[in-house]
Amino acid sequence: MRKTADVVIIGAGISGLAIGVHLAKKGVKDIVILEKTFPGNGATGRCGAGIRMQWGVELNCLLSKFSVEYFENVNEILKNDVDVEFWQGGYLIGAKDELEAEQFRKNVTLQNSLGIESSYLSPEEAKDMMPHLDVSHIKAATFCGRDGHLNPFKTVEAFVKAAMDLGIDIEKNTIVTGIEKTGGRVSGVKTDKGDIKAPIVVNAAGGWSKQMAELAGADLPVYSRRHQILVTEPVEPLQSAMFMGFGLNIYIQQVPHGPFIMGRGDADEPTDLRMTSSWKFLNDMAETVTTLMPRLARLKVVRQWAGLYNMTSDAQPIYDEAPEAKGFYHACGFSGHGFMLAPATGQLMSELILGETPSIDISSLGIDRFKGDMLLPLESSVV
């Protein structure tokens, strides 16, 4: 392992990889990404890898729009030919009640004003789009055909390849044990494999970002909650769009080779970094999905697992330099959307770190917003 680096990134999930790749593309040499297991083993490889532009607050719309356009051209941008399996079958989002339907009307107006081609649908129109959905459980729906999902493993592979082509070192099985500071500035990282001196350290540790911040004496107002997900046996194509409901607490997609993947979180669970699977999830999810989509009742579940959402109180990310340690940057608190925001994260964090003007104004995503009453409007469009 190198003894010195220009930038050390903690975490080889999709966010850390994207930040590394974008810094390297801008000419930064000597970048090291530290990963406690292997790339994508955290939330990145455990997520549904959905990507949608249908949000309720402007900034999330802009960030995800950036990401959709990026993923549409990902091979050109990353200069490799890994097929990330970007399936743009759209997202159909169902409103559980009138309150949600009202919010969806506002969301579509906002999205359309930002150039996102989404539409508001009646339950009957939703039924035409997804015949196996029992629309008696929804009051309305919205749809955007450019939304979709990717294969998270192939996407990690594409970013790892790009990182290696750009000369980035990815240190696997390396645990960060300390972050060194000199006179209020970060000066290096200690690991179980040796120490690295570096003037810039990026916290892209996802579910463990709070613990990494603590090593630098920095306070990070985030917590991590387990979300669970399951996969079924493959069947012939039935569902092209991803279906999602916020009040219904479900997202469900059929991936290109046939299996259905569906997931949710449980707000009543403790937030203690657990990543185990529960019987309750299997039971609750089976009940929800067979109510919404009775045709899926005969599908057999193959596997279930869990990953961590790194949550902020307004469900929007933190892109900022830590006030307690100059040169220590946070890219975390993605609240379940780190995968889809990763291209924007890579671009914007590289600009922030290099002192360039960000492509999208992210001044409101600073860490100061949690100290006073500067909180952003809560993003309600979250599963």
Partner: protein
């Protein structure tokens, strides 16, 4: 016939005959059979074809683990016939794709 009728230790009491259909053809099995054991006894060795390689698939693990014996039973795809009990009049069909949900 592929059924053991005489055994030095075990005895096999006579069971009721059940009629079922394999790809539309009437076959008979015994009460207590799984679908796979009835097919095997009737001499059927190819249960379906792999959706991708199109190679024949047969009776393999016999305990519901291996996915080799997935068939369409009464219109439901991906049924593991090695652990599914035979019933009178069942419509059993070989499966050559990933299965279309009814």
């Amino acid at each position: 016939m592929n059924r053991i009728e005489h055994h030095p230790i075990l005895t096999f009491p006579e069971k009721r005959t059940l009629t079922f259909y394999f790809d539309g053809k009437a076959l008979s099995g015994k009460e207590g059979d799984t679908i796979a054991s009835a097919l095997h006894a009737a001499g059927v060795r190819v249960l379906g074809h792999h959706f991708k390689s199109h190679r024949p698939r047969g009776f393999y693990c016999a305990i519901g683990n291996c996915s080799s014996c997935l068939m369409v039973v009464n219109g439901v795809p991906n049924v593991r016939v090695c652990v599914e009990q035979l019933e009178e009049g069942m419509d059993v069909r070989s499966q050559n794709d990933k299965g279309v949900l009814p």
